[in-house]
């Protein structure tokens, strides 16, 4: 049976930083903690990264299970196909988000067996107490995924929220409407607290929540300051590593462990810069990962870029923070209100800048900012076929960038986040080779 097949695991990717090298064991430990929590009867919440719920979950001592991450792990281990096929067998469409498809395949299998599917990657994903959906606007499947999972776990309650933010328009100022958004978000978060209190028998400790929010604010600042160090030439850390360090950024927000990780990363990057220690000894091209989730099963492509003299000092993917001190947040005593303001101000951070450049948008402004700050020679994006919410806009962004800013060499890779059948290493590397040729041609002009 195809479902029983376990493919050969890919060799471990070489990382540039010690910090990125710690991530594998960290993720493994987090999964083990979930399984242990299950045995100890602690509440487990299926959760989505960057839903805005992190601090609440942590303050209530609920154990988060990051379902997108588990699908990503299956992808990294090149062991997602059997779960994708399982979900397809349940009649879910192949064009659905493959994180969702993989997760639903896993859940349906675990529920059918009453135990983990055979030989699950890193021990498997524990059955949750609650599922916290999030319609955070970049990703529509996050509304429906857990509702679909309820087919297999009808006894597990779902909370579906979704924190909105003012959309960008050239001819209006978000400040006119921001108060409405803040009020709405606060109500959504309060609803989440009530839901969790009801279904997990935990009471919110509001003092504890304030402390957790303070830790996450400091983590936002620490991440920003550490990542800013990558402006150095030679660059001490690339996007390949950032696809690892997204773990503490997204899965440990509001924890001391997450904050400490980025303090350590900051110190390590400082050390590397002092020693002029780059990702590669002879850095020829500096590239921006301009959008799209990576192919988790092909992170070694970043090393292939390195072998051609190219490094990625910056990426827009998984850089989900700005320095809090730059967001001009009002002083409020309610931690939920603080979270709401931080959310709205993060998403409107580049509105003013975009309005000054006709035809631009906040997303395009971010590309321009990184191109200038990180001395970028070219932009690489990845269109993952199953990530419908984000990737269709990438080409448009690239075109706008070239229209309102300058004609910069670009490469659009095509594959998927989890579905390895969409990937062809030889074709991908042929494209990278050709892209390197164009970078060389542009540089030598």
């Amino acid at each position: 049976m195809t479902e029983e097949k376990k493919p050969e695991e890919k060799k471990k990717r070489k990382t540039a930083t010690e910090a990125a090298g710690k991530i594998g064991p960290m993720v493994k430990a987090a999964l083990a903690e979930n399984l242990r929590a299950k045995e100890e009867g602690k509440p487990i919440a299926y959760s989505f990264i960057y839903s805005g719920y992190d601090e609440i979950i942590r303050a209530m001592d609920i154990v988060p299970a990051w379902t997108e991450n588990y699908a990503g792990i299956c992808g990294v281990k090149r062991d997602a196909q059997r779960f994708l096929e399982r979900a397809e067998g349940e009649n879910f469409s192949r064009s659905l988000c493959t994180y969702a498809l993989c997760g639903l395949g896993f859940d349906s299998w675990r529920e059918e067996l009453g135990e983990m599917p055979p030989d699950p990657p890193w021990g498997g994903q524990a059955r949750p107490t609650v599922m916290l959906g999030s319609g955070q606007v970049i990703c529509d499947p996050r509304y429906k995924w857990y509702q679909a999972a309820q087919h297999y776990m009808p006894d597990v309650p779902v909370y579906v929220g979704g924190l909105p933010y003012p959309p960008y328009e050239e001819d209006y100022d978000y400040r006119e409407v921001q108060d409405y958004y803040v009020k709405y978000i606060v109500e959504e978060l309060r609803g989440l607290v009530e839901f969790l209190e009801k279904h997990t028998n935990r009471k919110m400790d509001w003092e504890r929540l304030s402390q957790v929010v303070d830790i996450s604010d400091r983590t936002w600042n620490m991440i920003s300051e550490a990542y800013d160090l990558r402006k150095a030439v030679p660059c001490p850390m690339g996007t390949g590593d950032a696809m690892n360090t997204m773990v503490p950024m997204t899965f440990m927000m509001g924890t001391q462990e997450g904050l400490d990780f980025f303090k350590d990363l900051y110190d390590e990057l400082k050390r590397k810069i002092a020693n002029r220690e780059g990702i590669i000894p002879d850095e020829k091209y500096r590239l921006l990962w301009g959008g799209g989730l990576p192919s988790w099963f092909a992170l070694t492509d970043f090393n292939y870029f390195n072998s051609k003299g190219a490094v990625f000092p910056a990426e827009v993917t998984y850089r989900l923070v700005e320095p809090v001190y730059n967001l001009d947040l009002p002083r409020v005593s309610d931690p939920l209100e603080h979270l709401a303001w931080r959310w709205v101000r993060y998403w409107t951070y580049r509105h003013d800048r975009a309005r000054k450049r006709p035809g631009s948008t906040p997303d395009v402004e971010r590309l321009i900012e990184y191109i200038e700050d990180y001395k970028i020679d070219g932009v690489v994006m990845h269109e993952a076929f199953s990530c419908r919410s984000w990737h269709p806009g990438l080409i448009w962004q690239l075109n706008q960038l070239k229209r309102v800013y300058r004609d910069i060499p670009s490469l659009v890779l095509e594959s998927d986040i989890v579905d390895i059948s969409s990937y062809n290493e030889a074709d991908t590397r042929a494209r990278i080779d050709a892209f390197i040729d164009t970078l060389e041609a542009v540089k030598s002009r």
Partner: protein
């Protein structure tokens, strides 16, 4: 560079091309790419040498390109087809700023500045938008690939082919035939469908005139006309569109040798042997 000879070997997914040049093209050979690239590269090279009346050890430098470029054991250097096409077109049609290459299994757009590729787009994921699309359709229609272009010009009432997938388009073609649509009208519809896909991809580059069409697709007059209609102006065609990459490869070989001579550097040259490669060589 008098007395020096350069070879360009372009192993595409469907056709293998070899060009031998000194100051001008001395010989060229085009043959089908089979599953055994290395064996075929040897044979086509041998034939080209025969036509140029040269022994292999008289060739100064060999550059391989195309998707099978790593399977040319006698090449001195492998260079991407993007760079080779750019170099080839810059030599053949220097006024060109955008190249549209329609190959057997992929299609690409290349933006040129000062004779070098500065941006590109590529479709290698889906057969629709490549020569394979027409090949499959020709099989369904019982028409040879060579006839397709000419027949499409006879269309009076072009049929809309709505399927973007090659497999489904082939089914749609059969359905249109059974509905009584004229062969020429269906073929014109197929050309329109492929031109739409290619144009949609290449326009990401901000197309600039002049535009050259290369690859096997450029030998299909129906496809050329459909693309020109999309572009809104006539495209330029090299004398033999299939040879652009191989000519570029030979010219890049010449550039490499010239630069090395100017710098006084010694280039690494592969053994000039055309014995059949085995798995262990």
């Amino acid at each position: 560079m008098k007395g020096q000879y350069f070879a360009g070997v372009d192993i595409g997914s469907t056709m293998t091309k070899v060009v031998i040049m000194d100051e001008a093209t001395l010989a060229s050979v085009i043959g089908p790419t089979g599953p055994e690239h290395r064996k075929l590269a040897n044979r086509v090279m041998e034939e080209a040498l025969g036509r140029a009346k040269l022994a292999f050890d008289e060739i100064t430098y060999v550059v391989a390109t195309g998707y099978g470029r790593i399977n040319v054991p006698f090449a001195d250097r492998q260079i991407t087809e993007i760079s080779c096409h750019a170099r080839g077109i810059a030599h053949l049609l220097p006024e060109v700023r955008t190249v549209i290459d329609i190959g057997g299994q992929d299609s690409k757009g290349i933006k040129l500045r000062d004779g070098r590729a500065v941006d590109f787009v590529m479709n290698d994921k889906c057969a629709a938008g490549t020569g394979r699309f027409l090949e499959v359709a020709a099989e369904s229609l019982g028409v040879s690939l060579e006839e397709m272009g000419r027949l499409s010009l006879e269309a009076e009432n072009r049929v809309e082919i709505s399927s973007t997938c090659t497999v489904f388009a082939a089914q749609e073609v059969v359905a249109k035939l059974s509905e009584g649509a004229a062969l020429a009208d269906i073929i014109a519809g197929l050309h329109e469908a492929i031109a739409t896909r290619i144009y949609g991809m290449v326009r990401r580059l901000k197309i600039e005139r002049e535009v050259a069409l290369t690859g096997g697709g450029a030998k299909n007059i129906g496809l050329v006309k459909a693309l020109e209609a999309r572009l809104g102006f006539p495209a330029l065609l090299p004398p033999e569109p299939l040879l652009t990459g191989a000519i570029g490869a030979a010219l890049l070989g010449r550039d490499i040798v010239k630069e090395a001579e100017e710098k006084g550097e010694k280039l690494k040259i592969s053994p000039r042997r055309l014995t059949e490669a085995t798995l262990f060589t």
